[in-house]
């Protein structure tokens, strides 16, 4: 039901990271892309039960180091200082992308410029403006068992990043399985989004009305996800 008081959207990256961190299972190998996906790391269990693969050549990345622990020869895919857990290892770029393309990675979490209801992802290029490049994202989309697109639901302009059809150059065609925004969790199914979880205070109907894409939703979505209504930083 639409609430009586009009909802005001407040961007919330933390709820996205927190929700994604709960999707993994013990032993899963996960690759986090640069930008918003990097936030997922701090919500993972502290025991290393989820194994982080980093495209620059590491398996078993740990939490960011303290100032005294920093080693210039140990970074994550975004160039930030990193640590390696006991049992972790290093390898070259061909081995790293062999892992990625070869189907050895369970989940990848990637940032978004646009994602559409066909599962197309655009996240590497705004022609003539900002052209960072695809880095490892095209390989990750091809090779990871589950591709999760992580994004604030709306652009600063107010337009939704979930679309009927991407207009920017694609990173991969039909590759995205799940989209997690600060409004809810969407799966890509038969050319439309299925809202499987809706984060309070938003309602499925409100999400549908404010998104330029075909969205269906299920009863579970209407029940919302109160569990995630924790203060930021509390897991």
């Amino acid at each position: 039901m639409e609430s009586a008081v009009p909802l005001v959207y407040v961007a919330n990256k933390e709820i996205i990271a927190r929700r994604i961190a709960k999707m993994f299972h013990s032993g899963d190998v996960v690759n986090l892309g640069i930008g918003l996906p990097t936030l997922v790391e701090k919500y993972l269990p502290s025991d290393g039960d989820i194994v982080l693969q980093s495209e620059d050549g590491a398996l078993g990345l740990g939490p960011p180091p303290s100032e005294s622990q920093k080693d210039g020869d140990l970074i994550d895919a975004g160039g930030g200082a990193a640590t390696l857990r006991t049992g972790g290892c290093f390898f070259d770029s061909a081995t790293s992308f062999g892992m990625i393309r070869g189907g050895h990675i369970d989940y990848t979490v990637l940032g978004v410029l646009e994602v559409d209801q066909e599962g197309n992802l655009a996240n590497y290029k705004v022609p003539g403006k900002r052209v960072p490049g695809m880095g490892g994202a095209m390989d990750l989309c091809i090779g990871a068992r589950v591709v999760i697109a992580a994004t604030l639901h709306f652009q600063p302009s107010g337009a939704s990043r979930l679309r009927r059809r991407c207009t920017l150059p694609l990173t991969a065609a039909g590759a995205v399985h799940l989209v997690v925004t600060d409004l809810g969790v969407f799966s890509v199914e038969a050319g439309r989004f299925r809202l499987t979880e809706c984060f309070a205070p938003y309602t499925p109907q409100w999400v549908k009305e404010h998104t330029d894409a075909d969205i269906v939703f299920t009863e579970t979505a209407e029940q919302g996800n109160e569990e995630l209504l924790l203060p930021v930083g509390v897991v």
């Binding site: 980093s54 495209e55 620059d56 050549g57 590491a58 080693d71 210039g72 020869d73 140990l74 970074i75 975004g78 160039g79 990193a82 390696l84 290093f90 390898f91 070259d92 770029s93 061909a94 790293s96 992308f97 062999g98 990625i100 393309r101 590497y124 290029k125 003539g128 900002r130 052209v131 960072p132 490049g133 695809m134 880095g135 490892g136 994202a137 095209m138 390989d139 091809i142 090779g143 150059p169 694609l170 990173t171 991969a172 065609a173 039909g174």
Partner: protein
């Protein structure tokens, strides 16, 4: 085993000539041969083609420039083949202004193109990039009912790489995520110059722990690790 010549960073930079194709190891400056790059950035060499994972850092706000970013800033590069230029605003500016040609390649494809170049292969077949701009102009072949892009081998005149340690014969050991593209590039250039932090006597490295065999390496440069 015959010793490899040990030269200075400046001498290394003098082995690179106008119009050369250059591979440079490193991932966002981690594992880049910073001493040789500093010497090359101070030289008059121009019209280089650069093959590297990325073009390091050039931040217009802070003015910070690192690694191969100095070569871009000095207009020593005419073409870049890389997977990522997002941390270098000057590369993007020169590309949009038509001052440098940039070919963006998926990172895994770039790694395999270099590996193929060093291994005598005719290329590799990859599903990465199908249905995107990365497939434009590329040959598509079907193997076992699966569409794949042909990625041609890459080879360079000179590879500038960085290792943690070498022995005098030129065997190399890398450290941490500073390995990245370095061992691949060591195989794929006519002349390979390895910058290392330490050179030990031949026989002091465990043969089972050597990452790059000596035959790939032509020159060694011993230099303190530069902070970036």
């Amino acid at each position: 085993m015959k010793d490899k010549p040990i030269i200075s960073a400046v001498e290394a930079s003098q082995l690179i000539f106008n119009g050369n194709c250059l591979m440079v190891g490193g991932f966002m400056d981690c594992g880049a041969p910073h001493s040789i790059l500093a010497a090359l950035g101070g030289s008059e060499v121009r019209d280089l083609t650069l093959i590297a994972n990325d073009t390091a850092v050039h931040d217009f706000t802070s003015g910070r420039v690192t690694g191969v970013g100095h070569l871009v800033k000095n207009h020593q590069i005419k073409k870049v083949i890389a997977s990522h230029i997002g941390a270098n605003q000057e590369t993007q500016r020169q590309m949009n202004a038509g001052e440098v040609e940039v070919e963006l390649v998926p990172q895994g494809t770039l790694a395999e193109q270099i590996r193929a170049g060093g291994a005598g292969l005719g290329g590799v077949l990859t599903p990465t990039g199908l249905g995107t701009e990365a497939a434009e102009g590329k040959q598509v072949v079907i193997v076992g009912g699966r569409s794949l892009l042909v990625a041609v081998p890459l080879h360079a005149d000179v590879a500038l790489i960085k290792a943690r340690k070498a022995d005098r014969a030129g065997n190399l050991v890398f450290h941490g995520t500073a390995r990245n593209f370095n061992p691949l590039m060591a195989t794929a250039a006519t002349l390979v110059i390895a910058e290392v932090e330490e050179i030990v006597d031949t026989g002091m490295l465990d043969p089972d722990s050597i990452h790059t065999p000596s035959l790939f390496v032509d020159y060694l440069v011993c230099a303190d690790k530069l902070e970036w």
